[in-house]
């Protein structure tokens, strides 16, 4: 049995109550990516500006449960100013942490859930979500949306 405190860590609730980088950038020049979680109605709208394959700024809009909104807020803080390659790497790490199955994602990226904290920082607080499998989709929504947005922008 997992307690609620494993899921709703203080830092997650802080991001939920005080979301970072909330709003929308003008498109264009910014790129836009929308994600939906059809089961629970979570919605996320990301707008981000790219310059030399670096995310200069990313803003988050949308609505949903605390996990989906906190994860989006934490992601927004983590990716500002990062190169697209770094963001893709971070996303892989995050999704590996969110994976119920210990799956290998290539020789260099093979990381255990516990080992992820080194790179993930605050995001590590979302680790507890794995113990509540129905909520994993809430946590990964914004990340999958960003990946799709990056793919679509051609970088």
């Amino acid at each position: 049995m997992s307690g609620l405190e494993d899921l709703y860590k203080e830092i997650i609730l802080d991001h939920y109550r005080n979301p970072r980088h909330r709003g929308e950038l003008e498109c264009p020049p910014a790129h836009k990516a929308e994600g939906f979680n059809p089961l629970c109605g979570d919605e996320v709208l990301l707008t981000f500006e790219l310059e030399d394959e670096v995310i200069r700024e990313l803003m988050v809009n949308g609505q949903g449960c605390s996990i989906s909104q906190a994860s989006a807020s934490m992601m927004s803080a983590a990716v500002q100013g990062k190169s697209v390659d770094e963001v893709r790497y971070l996303t892989r790490q995050f999704k590996a942490m969110m994976s119920i199955h210990e799956e290998s994602i290539g020789p260099e990226d093979t990381i255990s859930r516990d080992g992820a904290s080194f790179e993930l920082g605050d995001l590590d607080a979302l680790k507890g979500v794995v113990k509540f499998p129905v909520r994993i989709k809430c946590a990964t929504l914004s990340w999958n949306t960003l990946l799709a947005g990056l793919d679509e922008s051609g970088v």
Partner: protein, 409 residues
């Protein structure tokens, strides 16, 4: 309360603990729990008379056939059907609607026709029509809702113009609203249309007499009425079912098969292709017996009293912090309470409740057009049944406040 107070003891799932708490099961609109009588009836079939039906001449095959057909007769009596041949067993209410759309609709609807449904329908009574409309080009119209969650029938005559089928729910699975089915039947018939009714939330909870409802077709499902999953029912007037072409083809549904074609079987077998879910049908028969032993008037009375208790308790404790969708008068609704507490997201609310052993459903409840109409993406839904009591309601009431504190912004 008019039901035995120790009813929970007959439901094995309800005598467990979840997360260290006595389980408080408030999700019967999604699926009800099963009494020992139903579980045992299905076990007995597998242990003693397991054989395919309508085939072998040997003893246990004949007993299996008899048990299954006895269940059909019990279901027919339970809803006041004039003959067991009007009871078609399907997989669930969803399949029943697909059968109606594909068989009746495929044979009867064209580009100049219309089907009238409502804004409070479950996807099971929306999507089959949409799939068929994409092929046949007929129009789908929607009966709107009033602000207090009833069907708005003020423009019904206009909406009925050119309609061949009205298909509506007898009770909303989100709002709890009980709809005026007899009035809809009369007005549909006056306009030359048929009436199909989604009884998924109605039949398990209220006495059902198809003649009194006035409907032509009725769909419901076994697992919301103490029966197993995998068994649903389509009831239809026999002359209507007789005129409808088969739905699925295969064994059992034929009288004869030749190289140049086939002759369909008689009702109800015409619509029951392949080996049926025998154990599930027997389980549904046992569920019907169980409900009849309680008395459906008592079931309804219990639900009115408990719903009234819940509406008052929630209102007294939380006032304007809590929105309860649907009609406020317990006599006009079923025991389905869709809740929005402060701005706590329904998934967060249900997670907190789960830690206290309370099972509620969070989501769109397979009624997305309705959710859009209400301006919501999701609600947390507590739904009541025969085994629930005031202690369950008290547990729910006590548990909303801690969720509010956790997520206060």
């Amino acid at each position: 309360m008019s039901l035995p107070s120790d009813l929970k003891s007959q439901f094995p799932v309800l005598s467990q603990k979840v997360n260290g708490h006595e389980i408080v099961y408030l999700d019967s609109a999604a699926s009800s729990q099963k009494p020992v009588a139903v579980i045992e009836a299905m076990n007995d079939y597998y242990r003693t008379i397991n054989a395919n039906v309508h085939r072998g001449a040997y003893a246990i095959a004949a007993q299996a056939t008899e048990a299954m057909e006895l269940a059909r007769t019990r279901v027919a009596k339970f809803i006041g059907a004039s003959s067991a041949n009007e009871i078609v067993f399907t997989k669930n209410a969803t399949e029943s609607f697909n059968l109606i759309a594909r068989s009746w609709g495929g044979n009867s609807l064209g580009p100049t026709d219309a089907v009238l449904i409502s804004d409070m329908e479950h996807h099971a009574n929306i999507v089959p029509w949409q799939i068929l409309a994409a092929e046949k080009g007929f129009e789908i119209r929607w009966i709107p809702l009033t602000s207090d969650g009833h069907l708005d029938l003020s423009r019904l005559d206009e909406l009925l113009d050119g309609v061949k089928m009205v298909s509506v729910t007898a009770m909303s699975n989100v709002l709890g609203t009980l709809n005026p089915i007899k009035e809809l039947a009369d007005r549909a018939h006056s306009a030359g249309a048929l009436l199909a009714v989604d009884g998924s939330q109605f039949v398990p909870h209220l006495p059902t007499r198809v003649e009194e409802l006035g409907a032509d077709l009725l769909c419901f499902t076994g697992h919301k009425m103490c029966g197993p999953t995998g068994i649903g029912v389509l009831w239809g007037r026999s002359e209507l079912l007789d005129a409808m072409p088969p739905f699925l083809g295969g064994g059992e549904m034929i009288l004869d098969v030749r190289r140049d074609g086939f002759t369909p079987n008689e009702l109800p077998h015409k619509f029951e292709a392949g080996t049926p879910p025998i154990a599930e049908i027997i389980g549904l028969g046992a569920a019907v017996d169980f409900l009849e032993s309680l008395g459906m008037n008592n079931v309804r009375q219990h639900e009115i009293e408990l719903t009234d208790y819940a509406l008052r308790a929630l209102d007294n404790r939380y006032g304007e912090d809590l929105t309860i969708h649907g009609p406020r008068n317990a006599a006009e609704r079923g025991g389905v309470l869709s809740l929005q507490y402060q701005d706590v997201h329904p998934h967060d609310l249900s997670q907190v409740l789960d830690q206290r052993g309370i099972c509620v459903r969070a989501g769109h409840h397979c009624a997305k057009p309705l959710m859009r109409e209400l301006g919501l993406v999701a609600t947390a839904r507590a739904s009541l049944y025969i085994y629930n009591n005031t202690a369950d309601i008290d547990a729910l009431v006590e548990s909303l406040a801690p969720a509010g504190e956790l997520f206060a912004r």
